[in-house]
């Protein structure tokens, strides 16, 4: 009888091992769920607008030829093939919706900004298991210089890069009076579009993106 017991125990163990192998193998499915996503299917276009605003009150817009690079807290301007394509396409799309682009320096009802967001966040975290120094792989950046003694926590830094394109439209027509002294005038953002999911790097992708964004924003029009 005792022998039976032992045999049973052995078989159950085998069963458990097979069970874990089976689950492990199948769990891998989910990781691959988006591996076959094509470049055209990857971008996510997110638009939002001020519900209290009637866009038919605006007739003109101003759009500089360069795009703004927003990198953390600093801003700069740039021009490249892709950015020029963005500017041209956005200008065409707004013109098609009945708005008129004005030359630089002229008064306009709307200000359009095309922004290339290029944020990098750096964080520091403690790594209590310094023995497993490479556990998180290369994706999290290098580890800090603190010792690998298991008795002291070591620290590592990680870096997250967030890159995307954004189109913002601000209300220049109803802007508050020019601020006095150090107070800066706040402009109301009445429309915002961001392109997430994948980075836009070629002109074809710009065309697709701008078309999709303005197609899903039917409220953007100069006339009723």
């Amino acid at each position: 009888m005792k022998m039976y017991q032992q045999r049973k125990a052995g078989k159950w163990k085998l069963g458990v091992v097979l069970l874990l192998l089976g689950i492990g193998g199948l769990t891998a499915c989910r990781e691959n769920a988006i591996n076959d996503l094509s470049p055209a299917d990857s971008p996510v276009y997110i638009t939002n607008y001020d519900r209290s605003v009637n866009f038919s009150q605006y007739k003109t817009f101003s759009l500089p030829d360069s795009v703004i690079i927003e990198s953390n807290d600093s801003y700069s301007m740039t021009q490249s093939d892709v950015s020029t394509r963005f500017v041209t396409n956005v200008a065409n799309a707004l013109t098609a919706k009945g708005f008129r682009r004005v030359s630089r320096g002229e008064n306009a009802d709307l200000g359009v900004a095309i922004i290339r967001v290029n944020n990098q966040y750096t964080g520091v975290a403690s790594n209590p298991y310094s023995y497993y120094s490479n556990y998180w792989g290369g994706g999290f950046g290098g580890f800090g210089g603190y010792g690998y003694s298991p008795y002291y926590p070591s620290y590592y830094t990680y870096q997250v890069t967030d890159q995307y394109w954004e189109i913002q439209i601000v209300d220049l027509k109803n802007r508050p009076a020019t601020g006095t002294g150090t107070t800066q005038t706040q402009l109301n953002v009445v429309y915002d579009a961001t392109i997430r999911g994948t980075d836009i790097t070629d002109q074809q992708a710009v065309d697709t993106a701008v078309m999709a964004i303005f197609n899903q924003s039917p409220y953007l029009k100069a006339t009723e």
């Binding site: 069963g15 069970l19 769990t27 769920a33 276009y45 994948t198």
Partner: protein
């Protein structure tokens, strides 16, 4: 509708098979089988297809071809068993680009909806034949929980919710071993499963009907 027809078809088939079997499987053995005297064991591994129902259909409405069921049972001499039940259920559906409204935002994306369920349940079964029989139809009720992972990808961005939720799973099925006291056999099961999980597009709860087939092994 198809899952319901399949369910009744399986029920009808197993019932007739059992009725025929009852006629020629009694009183042929002088000594009782160990299966009838002691607590014995049965393990089973099956592959299944699952039909989403109810709230699940609001999220994914396509048949899932990726399901595994693992059962372990203690067979008691009086034709009932207590068991543990687990496995892995996975379903995925990709939708063409569409504009979705979330709060005030319009989001245009290709959604890849995935749902995985790892049940951890206790089962109680009643068999319509003795433990040594070649053909053993049964009814089963399982209850417990399930680890659910809901991941809805917008392009490559994920909207995820996961957790361990309560679950129930009544089932009917049949184990067929070929002859009396044989260890290895085949098993078929129709299981209705309801996991009490809801999130965003998956409303109320998450029921499904799974038809599974695979191998079964009894031993002592």
């Amino acid at each position: 509708m198809k899952p319901i027809i399949a369910f009744f078809a399986l029920m009808a088939l197993t019932t007739t098979a059992w009725a025929q079997y009852q006629n020629d499987n009694k009183g042929n053995y002088d000594f009782p089988s160990p299966y009838q005297e002691y607590v014995t064991f049965n393990i089973s591994a099956r592959y299944g297809v699952a039909f989403p129902m109810g709230g699940t259909q609001g999220y994914i409405d396509k048949v899932s071809p990726t399901n595994l069921v693992l059962d372990g049972e203690w067979l008691f001499p009086r034709q009932f068993s207590i068991g543990i039940k687990t496995g892995y259920q996975y379903n995925k559906q990709r939708l063409p680009r569409q504009v979705y409204q979330y709060d005030n935002q319009s989001i245009s994306a290709v959604q890849t909806r995935t749902l995985s369920v790892i049940p951890a349940m206790i089962s109680l079964s009643y068999y319509f034949a003795d433990n040594a029989a070649a053909l053993r139809p049964y009814v089963q009720f399982a209850g417990g929980g399930a680890f659910v992972n809901y991941t809805n990808y917008f392009g490559p961005l994920a909207d995820q919710s996961s957790g361990f939720k309560g679950a129930i799973a009544p089932a009917i099925g049949v184990k067929y071993y070929g002859k009396r006291e044989q260890g290895f056999g085949a098993e078929f099961q129709a299981q209705y499963q309801n996991v009490f999980f809801n999130y965003d597009l998956l409303k109320n709860s998450s029921p499904s009907l799974m038809l599974s087939a695979g191998i079964s092994y009894r031993f002592y």
